[in-house]
């Protein structure tokens, strides 16, 4: 493989270019995986048991900034076809060492609790308890070094940790569950709700669609959506996707320019060699292929390296207690996309240098004598 040989001849330069490509690919992989991870987490958060619809504030930018009036509940509970309603608060509190302490206020029997498995202490709504209660997610407990019976100050009140739970969604596991009223008070949302989970009496796809439009018609401030598509209700996720796209394009450009720079240098340096090859019978197409091969090889090596780096960096962030709520959503599909980006970057960066290489004539090269 002639291209491979040429890359080896300038090991440091090839390695630096490869790192540049890898960093670009890693940036893209980690940004996309994290943003997809958030979508997936929020969609999974409420996709439990008998929650058929989620109501949030129409036009709310994200699930934490969705405010519905608590008075809605009485109207909802008598709405035709509605079996049960479960109000919830999604809030963020600032506590020492954790500026993003997620609070989940809920009520007894809420489907939200179905994905929670208490591993120490009591359930949030254990019978016979009336003092302030708080169930702490396991990763929050570990990061904050809290255990059963220790206290956390939220707002102006101390809460005893009465239970520790595990949850499949890191967003939940890195936060705390509280009774609705406590969460409202801490988050300063008295009389308000973030989301309402609705259980329907009948929930065929037609029923769901009918209930969605009926609810939205009756309550104009409400957006009703199926839990698995929860994030579609919020603009912020789209903005995040746009930001990811923007930074991905930047990364591709930076990586592509790196490849271009390397390949241009390598072509200019070899003006004579490329001319001589033509003098001994190589066609322009062979020269083009040689240069493209070098650029593509760089990207074929840089792509997997970047994927590995990207995955490692997401995992590293997620393993860091303060950000244990970050979970990348990645898999073969994303890796394939990343390789396509890497190869595209290689072609983009190598195209111009290859054209320059083809423009070299044997005569020009011989004049170097």
């Amino acid at each position: 493989m002639l291209g491979f040989r040429n890359l080896l001849r300038r090991k440091v330069r090839s390695a630096l270019t490869l790192i540049g490509i890898a960093v670009a690919v890693a940036t893209i992989v980690s940004l996309i995986a994290i943003s997809r991870g958030f979508r997936k987490q929020f969609n999974n958060l409420l996709s439990v048991g008998d929650a058929h619809l989620v109501l949030s504030r129409k036009g709310a930018p994200d699930p934490f900034i969705s405010y519905l009036p608590e008075s809605l509940l009485s109207d909802l509970s008598v709405f035709p076809g509605v079996a049960e309603v479960y109000p919830s608060i999604l809030g963020i509190a600032q506590i020492p060492r954790q500026p993003f302490f997620f609070l989940y206020g809920t009520v007894a029997g809420s489907p939200l609790l179905e994905q929670v498995r208490v591993i120490a202490g009591e359930e949030l709504f254990a019978p016979g308890a009336d003092q302030p209660r708080l169930c702490l997610g396991r990763s929050a407990a570990e990061y904050l070094e809290q255990e059963l019976g220790s206290t956390i100050t939220l707002g102006d009140q101390e809460y005893e940790v009465t239970g520790i739970f595990e949850a499949p969604t890191p967003l939940l596991g890195s936060g705390a569950l509280l009774p609705l009223a406590d969460a409202q008070r801490i988050a300063g949302l008295e009389g308000k709700l973030s989301e309402v989970l609705v259980q329907l009496e009948s929930f065929t796809p037609e029923d769901l669609a009918a209930a969605e439009s009926a609810l939205e018609q009756r309550f104009p401030e409400v957006e009703a959506i199926e839990p698995a598509e929860f994030t579609k209700a919020f603009m912020e996720f789209d903005l995040a996707d746009q930001a990811v796209a923007f930074f991905s394009i930047l990364a591709v450009i930076v990586g592509g320019i790196g490849v271009m720079n390397t390949m241009l240098m390598s072509v200019f340096e070899r003006t004579r060699e490329l001319g001589i090859l033509q003098a001994i019978g190589w066609s322009k197409a062979m020269i083009l292929r040689l240069v493209l091969e070098e650029g593509l090889l760089l990207c074929l090596a840089g792509g997997p390296a970047g994927i590995a780096l990207g995955v490692a960096s997401i995992e590293a962030v997620g393993a860091w207690g303060q950000f244990s709520w970050v979970a990348g959503d990645y898999g073969p599909a994303l890796f394939v996309e990343a390789m396509i980006v890497a190869v595209g970057m290689g072609l983009l960066g190598t195209f111009y240098p290859a054209l320059r290489a083809v423009r070299i004539t044997p005569i020009e090269a011989l004049r170097y004598e």
Partner: protein
């Protein structure tokens, strides 16, 4: 071969540079007979190398015709194919690929002929044996002496079994002893293989070895 047919026939070749201010070739007529050893002599700047580039299909003339084995180089679309199949070059500088071994350098022209790997290797080794470098197959140019490098270049020029071998001051960068050895080798291989050889030189002594000398001055042949 029957009649001493011309392998190459050039008529009224003109090549100018810098928008016509420099007439490197000013109406050159030249016929090269199959199998002959022709020297193109003349002072530097006389147009020798330009002429070599034209008959070597490395560049196109402004006007005039060059027929190489009946193919008009002025009209040919793919000069690279003609170079790959019919021509061999030895330059003043060896012009070897620095990262490649002697054998790989000799194999390089065969890529253009899409020759299978095994055959490439066999041919390259045989030629390196022939130029006395059978034990230097895997040396890189930097590990070889000037004379040895030029031997590799000669092997490379012959590996595609060219009809016409073009040498541009092939000993110009060598000391006298090494230069003589290279010339001896070149002439011996040419005889063995019946290759037509055109050698460009400003050295009259070397030109004197040829069967025929063409002298160039200011882009014209003076002993036509």
């Amino acid at each position: 071969m029957s009649a001493p047919s011309a392998i190459l026939s050039a008529k009224r070749l003109v090549k100018t540079y810098e928008g016509g201010r420099i007439r490197a070739l000013d109406g050159v007529d030249l016929e090269i007979r199959r199998g002959e050893f022709l020297a193109v002599a003349g002072p530097s700047g006389s147009g020798k190398s330009t002429l070599l580039h034209m008959i070597g299909a490395l560049d196109r003339a402004d006007s005039g015709t060059i027929l190489l084995e009946g193919i008009d180089l002025a009209q040919a679309k793919r000069l690279d194919r003609i170079r790959a199949r019919s021509l061999g070059f030895v330059f003043q500088l060896h012009n070897l690929l620095p990262l490649f071994t002697a054998q790989e350098n000799v194999e390089a022209p065969l890529y253009a002929l899409a020759m299978p790997r095994a055959e490439r290797a066999t041919r390259a080794r045989a030629l390196l044996e022939a130029v006395g470098l059978g034990r230097r197959l895997h040396h890189r140019p930097t590990q070889l002496s000037g004379g040895e490098r030029q031997r590799v270049a000669i092997a490379r020029a012959l590996v595609n079994e060219p009809k016409l071998l073009l040498a541009d001051e092939p000993t110009g960068n060598l000391d006298r002893a090494a230069g003589e050895q290279i010339l001896d080798l070149l002439l011996e291989l040419r005889r063995e293989r019946g290759v037509t050889l055109v050698l460009v030189t400003h050295n009259t002594e070397i030109a004197g070895l040829a069967e025929r000398i063409v002298r160039l001055e200011d882009g014209r042949i003076t002993n036509g």
